[in-house]
Structure formats: C-alpha cells, structure tokens
Amino acid sequence: MPAVQETIEQVKSIDVDKYKYGFTTDIEMEKAPKGLSEDVIRFISARKHEPEWMLEWRLDAYKRWQTMNEPKWAKLDYPKIDFNDIYYYAAPKGQDGPKSLDEVDPELLRTYEKLGIPLKEQEILAGVRKADEPSKLDEEAGGDRPYGKVAIDAVFDSVSVVTTFKDELAKHGIIFCSISEALREHPELVKQYLGSVVPVSDNYYATLNSAVFSDGSFVYIPKGVRCPMELSTYFRINEMDTGQFERTLIIADEGSYVSYLEGCTAPMRDVNQLHAAVVELIALDDAEIKYSTVQNWYPGDKDGKGGIYNFVTKRGDCRGRNSKISWTQVETGSAITWKYPSCILRGDNSRGEFYSIAVSNGYQQVDSGTKMVHLGRNTSSRIISKGIAAGRSQNTYRGLVSAHAKATNARNFTQCDSLLIGNDCGAHTVPYIEAKNSSATFEHEATTSKISDDQMFYCLSRGLGEEEAVALIVNGFVRDVIQQLPMEFMVETQKLIGISLEGSVG
C-alpha cells in the first residue's frame, strides 16, 4: 500500500502543528483603502475595467448587503467580524492579468514552487517564459502525456496572476481565464449566467461577494466538447488583513464534460482572515461537471489563534436534461468552515453527487454539507460525507435533501459517518429531509463511532505505531470519497489526512 506508506512518511517528516504552507511572500502590493464603501467598490470595478452594468450589479449587491444580517444558525462560535477592518482589494503591484510570465514577479513564481504546484506545472511555467515557443511545449505535453495534464489559473490575493494552457484549450473552443478577463472579452456569457445560480441576495456572504469579488476563474466548455485536461485554480491569500472574495463561474454547454480542481492555502497569521467565495456551475443538456476541492487554508495554531474564516457559497445548477454535477471536497484547513456545495436538479434525469471528507483538529470548527434540491423528474442524488473530529474541534454535517411536488421518482441516498478521535471534540449531524412527492425515495443513514479498540489492537500487534495505525484506519474510513478524486489530488489528500490527525492520539 504505497499511499499509506506516504502518509506515514509525511507524518514523520513534519512536526505537530506545522502548517507547511504558512510562509509569506514579500511582494509589493497595491491595495484599496481599508473598509467597505461604494468608493471601494467603484475602485475595484474601475481597476478591472469592468463594463458599467457590472458596477451597477455590484452597487446593487452592496445596497442589499447593508440590509442583511449575518447568519447565526450554523454551529459555529467566533467573534464578530468587523467588515470595515479588511482590505477588499489587494493585488501584486503592476499586475493586471499578465499575458506572459515575463510580467510575473519572480517572487511569485518562487511561491508557487514552494506550494508544490504540480511539478509538471513548474515545467510549463518555465516553458511559458520562453515567449517564442509556448505552444510547442503545450503540444509536447499534450502528445506525450495525454493523461494528467492540468491547466492552472492562479489567484494571488485578489488577482488572477497566471493562466496556463490557454492556447491549447482555445483550439477546442474552451474558454478558461480569470473572471475579470471574461468580463472584458466575453461579457455576453458572463452577463447571461452570472448570478443565475446564486442570486445576488442569496445569503449574507454571497451578497458581500457579489459586491466586492475581485477575481476568480471563468470556464466555458462549448457544445459537445470533452475538456482534454483537468482545469485547476489555485487560491492563495498572502497579504495581512485582506479578505479574499473570488467568484468562479463554470458553464458546460450541451453534451460537454469538464473536471475542475481547486486548491487553497494561506500564510500563518495571528489574526483571522476572511474568505468568502461564490462558485456557480451550470450544466446544460447531457453535460457533466466534476468539481473537486482540496481546501487547506491556514487552520490557526494549536491554541486556536488565527486561521481563515471560510464562508463559501457553492452551487451547481443541473439545468439541462441528463446533466450531472459532482462535488468532491476534502476540507482540512480553515479555522471556521461554512460551506454547502449544492445541486439544483432542475433538468429531468439529472444527477447530483456530493462526496466530502472534513477533517478538523485543534480548535477548528466545521459546519459543512450539501443541498440536493430535486425539481425535475427522475432526478437522483447521492451524498457520502465523512467527518473526522480530533483535538478540540467541532465538526458538523448539515445537509438538505428536498423533492418538490413535480419531482416524480426523485431518489436520494445519503450516508454520513463521523469519527471521533479523543474526548474533547464533537461530531454532529443535522440532516433536513423534505419530501413533497410520494414517489420520492429518500434514504438517509448516519453513524458516529470511534476507532474501535479491536481495530487498533490488530494494527498495533502488527508493529504499527499508534499514529500510523490511526492514519491507516482513517484512510480506510474515507476511501469511498478519496476514490472520487482525480489522481493528482488523491495522493495529496492522503498526505493531508495524515498531517491533520497528527497529535490526536494519546
């Protein structure tokens, strides 16, 4: 079992409470004034050269946001956030969506190196630097290794700094760029779909995001195209006191397929930082979107100081017939996680899936789950959620499954399992099951347990150390979900789980 061996090595090589992405990059930044006002929103919009309608959209969102109250229903406990003590826009100076890596600060490139953005990606980054032959490298990569190619959009604080493989993707008619670029280049697509899944005033954080979002990724897969490589966005919060508000919009036109990966890290800071993203997915007839996240924001130190507050609204709309949206998430970071990737199953025969592993340790608090809203006929959904709580953390699964009156033959299967490691943590399950149609078949089951003494004894008697044994058992426990991840993430996830549980035994 090589993967398990890797987990063990990873555990050995890193000390307790060591967050390996916790460095900062010293880079000159341009920031909007601290706090939130119409002026700041105008500043962001102007900085991005946005069309007038977009500015109106943002200002409208800001007006609505002022009338809203922070949601309090989640099982999370944190001090009140001062929304006026945050920088809403911070960009590496001189960057405005660079066209080539010549324009990218070498310091940034070193950052990506440290983050271990896939090794082949570094080759590509180097390749792109040779301005005269970028496409050749793309072809090479395409020809020799059709599998495992990843196109990356990297977002640093508020701005997308680099997007790779654009040319090759363009050959297939695929648009993959930062959302600010999309607003300039493809305004009609953005205007048609932006806010159509997560309306402006959907919830407090989504509304805030609508007003101040600074960047994110935009993907459009044309009719009948199967995206030839994984698309990936890498988010990094770097500056002190900045919030990150990115917005991702993915449209899969009829009969298309795309797999999208998202990763996130942040430096170690004593203060809490805010991250409030909105992700919208739209799948038209027969289209399929697979969205995978490895969320590894800084979780705070061992005393619960610092860490990212992660308030994210993710929603997919299976708008067309036979469409499919699949969410896979691995949540190991953030001091606070408030995140419910959802599927609206509007098209007949559409399918939604949600696979989640949420690991919490230290003083982390996770309130995460999904919503499966069945609207069309013969829709089906599947939820597999594995929560692992250790240390003094609280880990909550909160999920909704609903079938509306016209959702004939809606089917759902939900399984949420929780594992408790230690006696100071909590694991909670809050499912909402609403059936307005008699032909709906909903099944829900949940279990909570600890690692059984028998299992531990079995492992220990074969010479494994306690922590190795826990990592082994936990990896087995979450296997159902890990199997859903693309290959690149699978190994990384197993490593992450090893790290997050460290120090939880004994």
């Binding site: 002022q66 009338t67 809203m68 109250n69 229903w73 009156a405 929780s418 408790l420 490691i421 230690g422 006696n423 100071d424 943590c425 909590g426 694991a427 909670h428 399950t429 809050v430 499912p431 909402y432 099951i433 609403e434 059936a435 307005k436 149609n437 008699s438 032909s439 709906a440 078949t441 909903f442 099944e443 829900h444 089951e445 949940a446 279990t447 909570t448 347990s449 600890k450």
Partner: protein
C-alpha cells in the same frame, strides 16, 4: 449598519396577551403558580408565536397557522380510577395542599429547547392531575387519564406523574377533544425514579378542526426503563414537543410515535433526547402514514454529553405516503461530544412498494386489501413491544383510520 426589524404582534398574539391579563388572577392556584405563569408568559411574549425562522419550528409556522385564538373555556379532566400504589389528585387539590412543591415541579420542565407553545401552556394551564406511583408498586391495570379541551374554545392542561423507584406501571392519557375543534395544549411531566419501569402512552385525538400543542418532559433515573408510544390520529394541527433526559446511568428509553394524517392536517413531533449520563440506551422510531394533502414533520435530536460514554442511540424516522400531494419532512440530528459511543440515525420516505403490492395481488388479494395489509404492517411496528391488550387497543385506532382512508 444593519437595519433592525421590529417584531409586529399578530392579532392572535394580542388576543393571547389580553386573555392572560384578564384571566391570570382568576386561574386556579394564582397565589402559588402566579409568578411562574407570569414568567412563562413573559418568555412567550418576548418571542411571540414561533415561525419558520425559529429552527425548532422550521416546518410548523404557528404565526401563519394560528390566525385566530378561541375564547377561553374549561378543560375536562378525567382522573384515573383508584388502584393500589396509585395516588391521584386533581391539580386544584394538589395546589391547595402542597402548592409550593407543585409550582416547583411545573417550573422544572425539561424539553431541551425553548418552546414558546409550552410556555403558553404553562401560563394558562388551570386544569390537570397529579399522579404518583408508590415506590416498588407493581400496578396491574393501566392508569388512564383524559384531558378533553372545550369544544370551540381554548384550554390548557398539565399532568404531573412521578413513578417511585422500582415501580412498574402503564400510564395512558388521551389528550384533545374529538369534537368541536378545540384549541389548546396538554403538557405532561414524567419523573421516572431509579429502576422503575414505565410504559407511557399518549393518544392525541384533537378532532377534525382541533389545534393541539402538547408537550412531554421526561426524566429517567438510573437503570430505569421508559417506553413511550405517541399516537396522533386526528387534529388539524398537532404539535408535540418531547424532551427526555437521562439523569442516571444505564437506563433505557424506547420512544415510538405514529402520525396518522389525511386531509390538510399537519402533525409535528419534535424530540430532544439528552444523554447526560453514561451507559444509557435510547431507541427512537417515528412513523407517519399520510394521505391527501397532509404533512408530517419529525425533528429529533440526540445529544450525547462528554461524560455520557458508552451511549447507544439509534433514531429512525419513516414516512409512507398514500397520495401524491402529501409531504413528509424529517430532521434527525445527532450532537455528540463523547468518543466511545454508538449513535446512528436513519430516515426513509416513500410510498407503498409496488413489488410487494404485486406479490400480494398475484396471490389473489385485491389491491385495496393488499395496500391495507402493507400499511398496517408498516404502522404496526410501533406497537410491537407493548402488552397485548394495550397493543390491540391502539392498533385498532390505526386500523380504523386506515379503513376510512382506503375506502
């Protein structure tokens, strides 16, 4: 920065407030219960009728559903027959002889969550019964009490049960009134002492137009066994708040419920089980059979506190829908702070299985009869562990309901 929304009182809330102001000094035991009633009403007034933004009332919007409050009336209490080991007094008598202790017991209600409806009951309850089972008593016949709310009027009642250590008893109560659309509520407090064995049955029969908001607050001592059966057979709107707390270790609670609802009825049972002590076992099984446009809600929460190691909790909510327009909502929650526990919950929703129906029909059983057999088997599971006579009595209620709805 944010706009604060001022709560506007509904006509129903205003009427309740004026009723309370008018009646509070005339209610039974005003001298002893007065302070508790005022406090309860103040708690109610602070939040008003619960609406869907209140988590525990997410599926039962009382503000929207209770538009008009009926005038106050008298609740008819039927006290149990005398029997060895059973001491029965009416609320009025008990207040006259031992007012302070009764007031204390009423104030100690445990449900685990704030329920403005139970506060309302506490503020108005003026009829009721106090039933004590002596320690070690083995009560042969079921102890039956009735709390009939006045037709077309509003009434509230309360019952205090205490079961002494090692005693064994079956308590049966019927709440609501079958005719005339009464409004009101009935709340029972059940204290089960160490080693006692109690079967508690509540049948809510609130009539076609009735609005019933009931409550059940139970504490279970060490090594005791508490079996509950809640049957809701009629009532336009029936809401039952159940709170159960283990106050001693190694106790067992078997909580079962059956909602039978047709027409546009709305039945909601919200349950909170507090595993405060180690080694306790709780089993929850709540079933709904729904016809026409009826709606059933089950919300259940199992809390396992940090010290409650070796807890074993299993919760199941199942709904069977006989018509396309029925609605079933369930929310089975787990909140766990101890690591050596086994907890699980399940929830299923669906209609009568076509394969099973086909199987029976292929053997010459007409469709209607086959459906009746399947539904009756589904519902019957909640009667499984009861004494034969009692099981028959309540399965007859279910059978009678089925006969009407499958006709």
């Amino acid at each position: 920065m944010n706009v604060q929304v001022q709560r506007v009182e509904t006509p129903a809330e205003l009427k309740l407030a004026s009723q309370f102001a008018e009646r509070k000094d005339a209610l039974v035991g005003a001298d002893t219960l007065g302070a508790g009633r005022a406090a309860a009403f103040a708690r109610f007034e602070a939040v008003g009728l619960p609406h869907r933004r209140v988590e525990e009332f997410k599926y039962t919007d009382m503000r929207a559903r209770l538009r008009e409050v009926a005038d106050a009336g008298e609740t008819q209490v039927t006290l149990p027959d005398a029997q060895g080991g059973v001491r029965v007094t009416s609320l009025a008598e008990a207040l006259a002889s031992d007012g302070a202790a009764i007031a204390e017991r009423i104030a100690e209600r445990f449900t685990g969550f704030d329920s403005p409806l139970l506060d309302l009951n506490e503020a108005f309850a003026s009829a009721g019964a106090v039933i004590d089972i002596a320690a070690g008593a083995n009560v042969a016949e079921p102890v039956r009490a009735g709390f009939a709310h006045p037709a077309g009027k509003r009434g509230d009642s309360v019952a205090l049960y205490s079961v002494g250590s090692g005693a064994s008893v079956t308590l049966i109560e019927k709440a609501g009134s079958a005719d005339g659309g009464a409004q009101g509520g009935h709340v029972s407090h059940v204290d089960v002492a160490d080693g006692a064995k109690v079967t508690f049955i509540r049948h809510v029969d609130a009539g076609a137009q009735g609005v019933h908001s009931g409550g059940l607050a139970v504490t279970v001592g060490a090594n005791a066994t508490f079996d509950l059966l809640l049957v809701v057979s009629t009532g336009e709107l029936v809401r039952t708040d159940i709170g159960l707390r283990f106050v001693g270790g190694d106790a067992v609670a078997n909580l079962r419920g059956l909602h039978l609802a047709g027409s546009t009825r709305h039945v909601d049972t919200t349950l909170f089980v507090d595993h405060a002590e180690p080694g306790c076992v709780s089993r929850e099984l709540f079933k709904s059979v729904l016809d026409d446009r009826a709606r059933s809600v089950f919300q259940g929460k199992i809390l396992v506190r940090q010290k409650a190691q070796k807890t074993d909790g299993k919760m199941m909510a199942q709904a069977l829908m006989l018509s396309d327009d029925a609605e079933a909502d369930s929310k089975p929650e787990l909140e766990i702070y101890a690591d050596d526990v086994q907890c699980g919950h399940g929830s299923t929703t669906g209609r009568v299985d076509d394969t099973l129906l086909f199987y029976l029909m292929a053997r010459g059983i007409p469709k209607r009869e086959a459906t009746r057999m399947l539904v009756s088997a589904f519902a019957g599971e909640v009667f499984d562990d009861l004494d034969e006579a009692v099981a028959e009595e309540f399965s007859a209620v279910a059978e009678e309901w089925l006969e009407r709805h499958l006709a």
